[in-house]
Amino acid sequence: MNWFIRVITASVGKKLLMALTGIFFIKFLLIHLIGNLTIYGGDEYFNAYVKHLHSLGPIITVLEFFMLFLAVIHISTGLLLFFQNLSARPFKYAVNKNGGGRTIGSSTMPYTGIFIFIFLIFHLINFHFVDKTNTTVFDIVSNAFANPIYVFFYVIAVAAAAFHVSHGFWSAFQTLGLNNVKYMPFIKKIGVTTSIIFGIGFGFLPIYIFIM
């Protein structure tokens, strides 16, 4: 195991962990979004989806613990990288200027990440660790988003996630060594498209429920 630890604790290895776990979260978000869109089908349609999902039982529990494991890796490695990178330049420049490489997504990566983490805890308390007896998930969701503060917080969190993905998507491919002049522009476009889909897809849901 010694060689394995050596590889994943190197700078490139840590980035590899970020990329692999990050790609998994993008896949999860895609499935999560598809599931959430059933809200547009109305009360019964959405509750039927939730019921069907929960009927999978142990598969869901295993996946939940797997994701918790990946989240621990992604967040702890991300924080470690953040602090190491801060300490790599102890004396700051008087003038900071962008050379044209950075994007809003890339330069805010650690901050959007931390914000998403805080949101995640809030989100799970809201909808996951909640008493579901004598009520339906649709009711819980529609009650939550009757509050404009909730709607605002969720929209901001979704925007943060969209920016995070806008850099994370292509960055993961670059870290995995899959940069190639032929298809890198395509990967970048898919990354931006995915982040826009996430932004609009998740972001409009709370607004829709609030208006309803």
Binding site: V12, K15, L81, A88, V95, K97, S171, T175
Partner: protein, 254 residues
């Protein structure tokens, strides 16, 4: 000389005494600077004035002054080697500055690049990375026949593009994380792409990445600032190649 414009500039130059860990920005006036001058020649003129006044001249690194040695470099208005694309500081001309402009001149800043004096930083960290694996081991003996080892034109070109790296350190200076990945990836790439570099490829990339980490450089987060500021316009495709080589060496080579 006809056609020569002269400009006046206000300079804010980083002054740091040798052996001191702190410095500060000092203000100087650069008067009657010809726009045909290079940035370093402008500093020469300022230094002559400072010397005449009995003040300590501004210490800065320089050597060839034709953009190929990698010795010069400073951060001009927040941009390593200045705002012009694909140029070293010695090839940055004063015609790119406006009369009356205030110009900030700072040294490269990174934990791994210790400041020696004023604008001079210690870049031996790069040498240490090269010493850890940035070479090929070749037995001496009779010279080999030319073209005995066939190399595709494409790989020769890619290797040459990577080898264009002059090791100036602008990538580290430009990186928000002070990472040396563009430098290391260029050095790994130009050897790995060629048959002569293949036998030691796995050991090389592992040793060079580990040395880079030990020296206190930051981690690459694909901000692409290095590529934008590199005077030799080294592509970050080289960083992807380094990542690929590192993964290959770490997981698939014994």
């Amino acid at each position: 000389m006809s056609g020569t414009n002269r400009i006046n500039l206000t300079l804010k130059v980083w002054r740091q005494k040798a052996g001191k860990s702190k410095g500060n920005l000092a203000e100087y006036q650069a008067k009657e600077i010809s726009t045909d001058m290079s940035f370093l020649e402008m500093l020469d003129v300022v230094n002559e004035y400072l010397t005449l006044k009995g003040e300590e001249p501004i210490a800065f690194d320089h050597d060839c002054r034709e953009g190929i040695c990698g010795m010069c470099g400073a951060v001009i208005n927040g941009r390593p080697h200045g705002q012009e694309k694909g140029t070293t500081l010695c090839q940055l001309h004063m015609r790119h500055f406006k009369d009356g402009e205030t110009v900030f001149i700072e040294p490269f800043k990174a934990k791994a690049f210790k400041n020696i004096k004023d604008l001079i930083v210690d870049r031996t960290a790069f040498d240490k990375i090269i010493q850890s694996g940035g070479f090929i081991s070749a037995n001496t003996g009779g010279a080999q026949d030319a073209n005995a080892i066939l190399i595709s034109q494409k790989n020769a070109d890619l290797a040459m593009d990577a080898a264009a790296c002059i090791g100036c350190g602008a990538c580290v200076a430009a990186c928000p994380n002070a990472s040396a990945m563009l430098f290391v990836s260029a050095k790994v790439s130009h050897l790995t792409l060629l048959p002569q570099g293949k036998p030691e490829a796995a050991a090389r990339v592992t040793a060079m990445v580990n040395t880079m980490d030990d020296l206190g450089f930051g981690n690459c987060s694909n901000e692409r600032e290095c590529e934008a500021e590199c005077p030799k316009e080294i592509s970050i495709a080289n960083i992807a190649r380094l990542n690929r080589e590192f993964i290959k060496a770490g997981f698939f080579k014994s």
